[in-house]
Symmetry: C2
Subunit: 306 residues, 2 copies
Amino acid sequence: MSLLTVGTVAFDTIQTPLGKAEMVVGGAATYISLAASYFTKSINLVSVIGDDFPQAELDYLSSKGVDLKGLQRKAGEKSFFWEGRYHDNMNARDTLDTQLNVLAEFKPVLPEAYRNAQYVMLGNLTPSVQQEVLDQLTARPRLIVLDTMNFWMDTALDSLLDVIKQIDVLVINDEEARQLSGEYSLVKASKKIIEMGPKYLVIKKGEHGALLFYGDNIFFAPALPLADVFDPTGAGDTFAGGFIGYLSETGDLSFENMKRAVIFGSAMASFCVEQFGIERLKGLSRIDIINRVEKFVQLVNFDANI
Amino acid sequence: MSLLTVGTVAFDTIQTPLGKAEMVVGGAATYISLAASYFTKSINLVSVIGDDFPQAELDYLSSKGVDLKGLQRKAGEKSFFWEGRYHDNMNARDTLDTQLNVLAEFKPVLPEAYRNAQYVMLGNLTPSVQQEVLDQLTARPRLIVLDTMNFWMDTALDSLLDVIKQIDVLVINDEEARQLSGEYSLVKASKKIIEMGPKYLVIKKGEHGALLFYGDNIFFAPALPLADVFDPTGAGDTFAGGFIGYLSETGDLSFENMKRAVIFGSAMASFCVEQFGIERLKGLSRIDIINRVEKFVQLVNFDANI
């Protein structure tokens, strides 16, 4: 079923303890779309780029089933750029440079064919832009998932809370959950956040896995222990793309299937961090993904014998 | 089967974001013995206290099946004392005071009946004291488990490495594993540490769960998400006590059963942190423990449907 995603399509320069990559293709919507493309071939992307963005990269996205009619191209302008450096603990990073460029004046415009989307992934962006996407939909989607970050909690909390009221699943990290709720305990944080509107809450903990909250139910998905994490950039977006991609493929919004979606999202994220940028997300096979999910099964599998 | 444990029996003063407890009973061997007592009633404790330690607390340990013939009591001296303050992130803490007292000159002496122990838990102590315990055994135990800390890596690395060569399971936290191996990645760290001698390695990650490494196999046990963590003091020792207690009860040293032991250890630790000191470890029932283990089963349970 059709999946609409909004987010950045951008360039990143990334330093990690294992190396550096300059001006590589990135952006939330890029990672989301690529990850989701392994589950559905009906992906509509809403974003903006400058005329510096390589056509070959756009052609690649198209070849993966990503429709780019909603991608605005601004002549004479530059694409969004982010530069960051990760610590040894790759859950922590410093932003070295952010150039908004085309993003500064971004007004999302949904082509007619996008407006009846059944699955909507609002990638991390200004909450008002996320709202403008929702406002252009002609009917309530089956599922709206939103990602955000602490920056918007600091600078646009009211509009963020307004959007959060309208969604089904909020996907944030542990620090963001603590900031949004004012609670240190993630269990307490989850209760407060679910009162803000979303039925489901996913709290990503990076190398420590992810928690899915629904009513009084908690599901925990581990992260796969890896010998080398080359680059965590985009892992959260890749998780979100795998998560909503799996849900749109299966069409099943039960808690049991949400758990599976968290595992498939985690599996996609575990690929993402194995190379810089989007490289590892190119050319995976269905068998690669199934084998990776099987590793998650094995990792936590035990017979309590009680 | 008989379980021998060595470690501190002590007093702690503890500050956490949720409160303070002064001069409460603690110590590695206390937590280990109490946790293990839910699985075996044949526990032999080797430690030292001053004449300030309340007889009622010793009687309580005896009532739980803990034999105290190996507990030295030094007239006119004081018991080991530790004072610490935990951060909001309870994986981090500051030591405010350490008074070795009776521990400064501690020479463990194993009563004759302890020397053929089949399960040995070497709690966190000077590596030379852990070695002296091993030296007094008359036969190789079925299983030797060792806990240690970064302080001994800084101050007594050679003797620590000597003891580690002789054991079966090393139980340490993530920071300690990184320091001991010089590797940031826990997967790489585990390979180096297993080359040091132990067949099994458990890496405790506090609120982020625990990893069990054996050859190329990795098992991950989550920590239970709790609304309130009152006091993490002793959680690692309680984990170790539940772990070896379960193994001594079942007598099965297969990887499958080690996985179960990690879950039972995690379940015991999840009780420990719910109150200050050892309070929550008093008066649990077998049903309480089974119900808690069932929560771990539910927390990670999913059907991948692949």
